[in-house]
Symmetry: C2
DNA sequence: TGCTAATTGCTAATCATTCTCGTTTAGCAG
DNA sequence: CTGCTAAACGAGAATGATTAGCAATTAGCA
């Protein structure tokens, strides 16, 4: 009664690209890399497969305000991100304040949270 | 040499709507409320004026992963937001864990942070 | 080798947001 | 108060990211 996700060439290539990425990739960024290994892949297929891998828990989504969604391999420990406002790069921040309980009314049900720290990365901070 | 922003009726109404809002509003949500006070306002004008108020520092933007941007009056005390995953509404959470220090490398320059707590609001939590 | 449903490529359709352009109007000089 | 002009407006086209529809292709299995 389960689904039977097919092991297609394009899905394999996509997973391979994410496995070899050193930073979260947008769907189009991933598309560019996939096409280097296998031309003639449709962008729509990228979106479909990213969603598939996401649902299978193989990818995690990383959102940066005002930008297209990016994805990275799932499986890292709970962590958050730092966004450089100059070069726009994203960095992983290990750990979490754990105290993310806030004054959420008791009638609310908390599922999780997301934290983004903004600023300048080492390189960009040095330039000024 | 400065700009001369005109005090139009639609800009006034928009500011009034945000002043009376108890939660961050998307441009379309604001549009609905504006039209209750003044019909025949174009959506494009909403976007124009939101951007204007934003640039004048009268509004602040709040981003929710995968959703349209929301805006609220600038100048409130430091706070964060709760997003209901059922009805999609945004709620203000007062205060902050303050312990948001993380292990950001000392060479990085921190400007600020954003925290979003996900879950179900009181109403939606009750329905199940 | 053959069958069939999952997947693909392509295109059309959404959604949020911006842009264009002809018309209206706030703000100001006369 | 009257006119002028550039800012702002309304309507709708354009853009960029993402999703949906559909006929053709193909992975997985008998
Ligand atoms: Zn940087
Ligand atoms: Zn955390
Ligand atoms: Zn709710
Ligand atoms: Zn805070």
């Amino acid at each position: 009664m389960e689904k039977s996700p097919r092991n297609t060439k394009q899905r394999r290539t996509l997973a391979q690209v994410f496995a070899g990425a050193d930073q979260p990739l947008s769907v189009e960024e991933a598309w560019v890399r996939v096409r280097r290994l296998q031309p003639r892949v449709a962008l729509g297929t990228m979106y479909r497969n990213v969603r598939g891998l996401l649902e299978q828990g193989e990818l995690a989504v990383v959102h940066f305000p005002g930008q297209a969604a990016r994805y990275e391999l799932e499986g890292k420990a709970h962590h958050h991100h730092f966004e450089c406002r100059s070069c726009n790069q994203a960095f992983d921040l290990s750990g979490c304040t754990d105290k993310v309980r806030f004054k959420v009314p008791r009638s609310f049900k908390v599922h999780g949270h997301e934290i983004i720290v903004y600023g300048l990365c080492a390189k960009c901070a040095a330039k000024r």
